[in-house]
Amino acid sequence: MRLEDLKQGFTSLWDSVSEGWQRLRQSAAGALIRFMPGEGSNLPAKAEVDDDFYLPSHGWALLGGDVFEDERRLVVRVEVPGMKKDEIKIEVLDDALVVSGEKRFERESSEGRYRVLQCAYGSFRRVIPLPARVLPDQANARYADGVLKIELPKAFPGKPQGHTIQVS
């Protein structure tokens, strides 16, 4: 297959208008996360990859996050594909959840040539603000289909709080 064909097709991930907006929204909201490969990460050098957009120094990915709540708990959903569950670290701060870890790059075979390398690899850290105080000791988390689902009981159960702000 011709390299020109591949290059032509893979220049952009934003091919439809609605998709472009979705990505902009997600990246503005905080889903755009930088991935920093470490010393032993094994990522190919730029010369070994035919993807013009590839940079071995760091990558970016949209790790979508959602927060749902009801009277008793918060449920946070974070998209973190391709991890092993014991490689994901979750920390609960007073008003935020921090999800971090390292997505490893595994070389398929020593003979292969990387034509496109768009997925992000390396260490990442995503902070998600929480709308209510929670009890971290009673939290539980599950990882399935590349999505981390964390359930956090509220410290002060009650309806979701709203704050009205006067405009002077």
């Binding site: 297959m1 097709g9 998709e19 959602d66 390398l117």
Partner: protein
Amino acid sequence: MSEAGNVTKQVDAAREQAAMMPPVDVVEDPTGITLFADLPGVPKDKLDLHVEGDSLTIEGEVSVDMPEGMEASYVEVSLPRYRRVFTLSKELDPSKVTAELAQGVLKLRIPKAAHAQPRRIEIRAG
């Protein structure tokens, strides 16, 4: 293999059902192509792979299963569908595609057709 880039096709697709394009890694070796795609939230039964002629479509629907009665306080993921279409070059044999889906990462292996694989020619001593 290349990406299907026809503009009218895409406008129609966007109108039918908006979808996100997942990021992919494509590795080529002498015997075929390996493709990885990030499809977080797509379970096996919501993943659709189909080949039509020389076109390979990867489509997946994200299942966000939240218990009843939960209010969305902060939502970033609101386009719960992934789609990406590829044009496979003639060297590839789409009938032999194999796929694995683990923790939201799809791994596809598309071997090159037998005639396109590197062959060692035996040289017989005369």
